[in-house]
């Protein structure tokens, strides 16, 4: 009776949780907490008889217990169950998934677990295993309610879609058709992924301690999608053929069909397609040949080698051909390629505003300074005295020819003085100018100017080479004095200024002065007295 009461309680709690508004779960509420604990307790007790090991019969869900503690209890129950479930799964793998939505608790878990198995086979990472464990825990916790929920979901859906349906369109048939298509494309994995996603979401909502789980579930979702994509890629973009769409082949398994069509369609790529097919087979659960990792890698390598051989046999692009003339490459192809060659010429300077401004500034500065770069003629040093050019007199000569000869004769005879030449005239002018200046200067000194006496001194000129006579000026002159300051200083002791003296010191000074004066004056009267 206790058990039934507890079961009822648990059911009630579950129902409460189910019908609770999702937004209520965002904020902590005491009702939801108690309901969750009751529900988990109910599920735990229902699962206890199924486990081979003997876990504690009841789940302790006192308010004092932490979420971690409850969780660890659940795990204690769930961990031994796993191998048992795996064995069950292997048995069930023999049968095709005829009904994806099974009502039994174990079969329900099967698709999700098979998915996990896939992951294990495909990748085998530790992380995945941990996640698997967590997933199974989640699922086991709420396995009973899953079926209820799903059934309820279906009913809800049907109720909603009744408006849309008519004699031609059946929502259920459409859903079946879509599932079929997904199966064909993704090898049945997508459907499971969707289902799993749905269950997971539901689980996320119901859990109060949801943060960690949510994160983990999110990662798990991504992982599922990765797996699905891999399956898809393995088929070379789907590999959907005409036959797949328009020929009804219910009996054939999904993967095998793809492999066979590929063989027919592409003669050249049969080898690769076979590999792909085999790859797909590997990826798929229902396959007959089990290729080992090494064999798979070998296949991949072979495919790559084929590709590389094909590329090597082909003629390479013109850019890789070495010396290429214009005739052996397409028109204007050199423009598209980024050619690299040495430029021996400095690139032309880009004329910007700043450049012109700088040039103009320089020009202005140079003009202001008067510093030009004109070629200046080198000034010739006068090697010899400038020739006196006789200026040709272009006016009519004042003297007649007879007079000219007369003067000539007179000069020769010595009667008349030599006539002054033009250069002498200039000298005469200079002489007269200088005389005038001298006269004025002499007037300044009242004509008493005494010239410097000419001192004829006899100095012994040593017959020493001229270089030795040159003044040897000191290159560096030190301005440090020969005497130190204390040697220069005359006086004794501390020298104080007038303003610095104290009264006593002033008095002392005056007293000293008086004494000296008295001493000096004492002598005088004594002298006078003597006299």
């Amino acid at each position: 009776m206790d058990a039934t009461a507890a079961a009822d309680k648990g059911e009630a709690a579950l129902k409460l949780l189910e019908y609770a508004d999702p937004s209520h779960f965002l904020s902590p509420s005491a009702d939801l907490v108690t309901a969750a604990r009751a529900a988990s307790q109910h599920i735990y007790s229902s699962l206890v008889p199924l486990s081979p090991a003997q876990p504690p019969s009841t789940l302790l869900t006192d308010p004092a217990f932490d979420a971690e503690q409850i969780w660890s209890q659940i795990e204690l129950l769930a961990r031994p169950l796993l191998p048992h479930l795996r064995r069950q799964l292997r048995r069930l793998e023999q049968q095709p998934p005829s009904q994806p939505q099974a009502t039994l608790p174990l079969p329900v878990e099967k698709p999700a677990d098979s998915e996990e198995e896939e992951e294990e086979d495909g990748q085998g990472s530790e992380l995945d295993e941990l996640k698997e464990l967590e997933e199974t825990d989640d699922e086991e916790e709420l396995s009973d309610d899953e079926e209820d929920e799903e059934e309820e979901e279906e009913e809800l859906d049907q109720r909603a879609h009744k408006g849309l349906e008519d004699q031609f369109l059946k929502i259920g048939e459409m859903a079946e058709f879509l599932d079929k298509g997904d199966e064909e494309e993704y090898g049945g994995g997508a459907n499971r992924g969707e289902e799993k996603k749905a269950t997971k979401n539901w689980m996320a909502e119901s859990d109060d301690e949801g943060d960690e789980d949510r994160d983990e579930e999110g990662d798990e979702d991504l992982e599922d999608f990765e797996d699905d994509d891999e399956d898809g890629e393995g088929e070379d973009g789907g590999g959907i053929m005409y036959k797949d769409f328009f020929e009804k082949s219910h009996n054939r398994p999904a993967k095998k069909r793809d492999g066979s069509t590929k063989k027919v369609q592409f003669k050249e790529d049969t080898h690769t397609m076979e590999l792909d097919g085999s790859e797909n087979d590997d990826g798929n659960v229902e396959e007959e040949q089990g290729l080992s990792t090494h064999e798979k890698e070998q296949l991949k390598a072979r495919a790559k080698i084929e590709q590389m051989e094909k590329a090597a046999l082909e003629s390479s692009a013109w850019t890789m051909q070495g010396e290429v003339t214009a005739s052996s490459r397409p028109i204007n192809s050199a423009l598209e390629v980024d050619l690299d060659f040495e430029h021996n010429v400095r690139p032309a300077p880009v004329i910007t505003e700043e450049v012109t401004a700088s040039l103009e500034d320089m020009i202005k500065k140079r003009i202001a300074e008067g510093h030009f770069d004109d070629v200046e003629k080198p000034s010739l040093l006068p090697s010899k005295a400038p020739k006196e050019h006789k200026e040709l007199d272009e006016s009519k000569s004042k003297k007649g020819l007879a007079e000219l000869y007369e003067d000539d004769y007179a000069q020769k005879a010595g009667i008349a003085p030599a006539p002054l030449a033009i250069s002498d005239e200039l000298k005469q002018q200079a002489n007269t100018l200088f005389k005038r200046i001298c006269l004025k200067l002499d007037a300044l000194s009242h004509f008493h100017f005494a010239p410097k006496p000419v001192i004829e001194d006899m100095s012994v000129q040593a017959n020493v080479p001229a270089l030795a006579m040159e003044e040897i000026a000191p290159v560096a002159v030190s301005d440090a004095a020969m005497l130190a300051p204390e040697e220069v200083f005359e006086g004794k002791g501390d020298v104080k200024e007038e303003g610095e003296l104290t009264q006593a010191e002033r008095k002392r000074r005056r007293a000293n002065k008086k004494r000296r004066y008295a001493a000096s004056h004492k002598e005088r009267p004594a002298k006078l007295q003597k006299d």
């Binding site: 050019h389 272009e394 007649g400 007879a402």
Partner: protein, 209 residues
């Protein structure tokens, strides 16, 4: 005439003769020179007659007269003409004046022996006609006669350019230099070139003296 009665038995004494006077040289008869006067020199002659007359009559002791009807200047030796060449010199002097030279320049002929008058024509140098001739004359004299004066001053000559005739008065060497310059000017060389040559030559000439 003295006959030396030498003691020797048959020695004949050389006769000693005095120099012949110019009048005696010509047999006691006077000599004449006639210098025609061109019409353009008639009035200058009338103006400068005394300047011609004085040195000729006074210093050279040659008679001079103007035959107006015949348009001639006539010269005659006197008894006391000191030298035979005086007459010729006077004739040259008057002739020079007739050519166009100034009295001051022509008088040099009277004073110095080795002055001559050289005349030539432009066509002797180069055949020029019309404008070329005019241009050549212009080149010779220069602007305001400066080229001519430059040549005169540098070579100590006197030049008279009478249309196409050119007369040069001076010593032989100077005449040569002047003539060369004038010929180069006639032939077309620019004045500057002639000047540079003149400068060089005149410097050489001056050094010589």
């Amino acid at each position: 005439m003295e006959v030396d009665h030498a003691a020797g038995p048959g020695a004949v004494e050389k006769p000693r003769f005095d120099a012949l006077t110019p009048s005696e040289m010509s047999g006691g008869r006077p000599q004449f020179r006639k210098v025609p006067v061109p019409p353009h020199r008639f009035s200058p002659l009338k103006r400068c007659w005394m300047e011609i007359y004085t040195p000729v009559y006074e210093h050279m002791k040659v008679d001079i007269r103007m035959n107006i009807k015949a348009r001639r200047v006539e010269l005659k030796t006197r008894q006391d003409t000191p030298d035979v060449s005086n007459l010729q010199k006077c004739a040259d002097f008057v002739h020079a004046f007739m050519l166009g030279f100034d009295i001051a320049d022509a008088v040099a002929l009277l004073r110095l022996d080795d002055l001559y008058v050289d005349s030539f024509e432009i066509k002797d140098v180069k055949t020029l006609r019309g404008e070329h001739l005019s241009r050549a004359i212009g080149r010779l004299s220069g602007k305001g006669g400066k080229t001519k004066y430059a040549i005169e001053n540098s070579t100590r000559t006197r030049i008279v350019i009478a249309d196409t005739k050119i007369h040069i008065l001076g010593s032989f060497v100077n005449i040569k230099v002047a003539r060369d310059s004038l010929c180069s000017l006639i032939l077309g060389s620019p004045a500057g070139k002639v000047y540079s040559k003149l400068r060089a030559v005149s410097a050489r000439l001056a050094e010589r003296y």
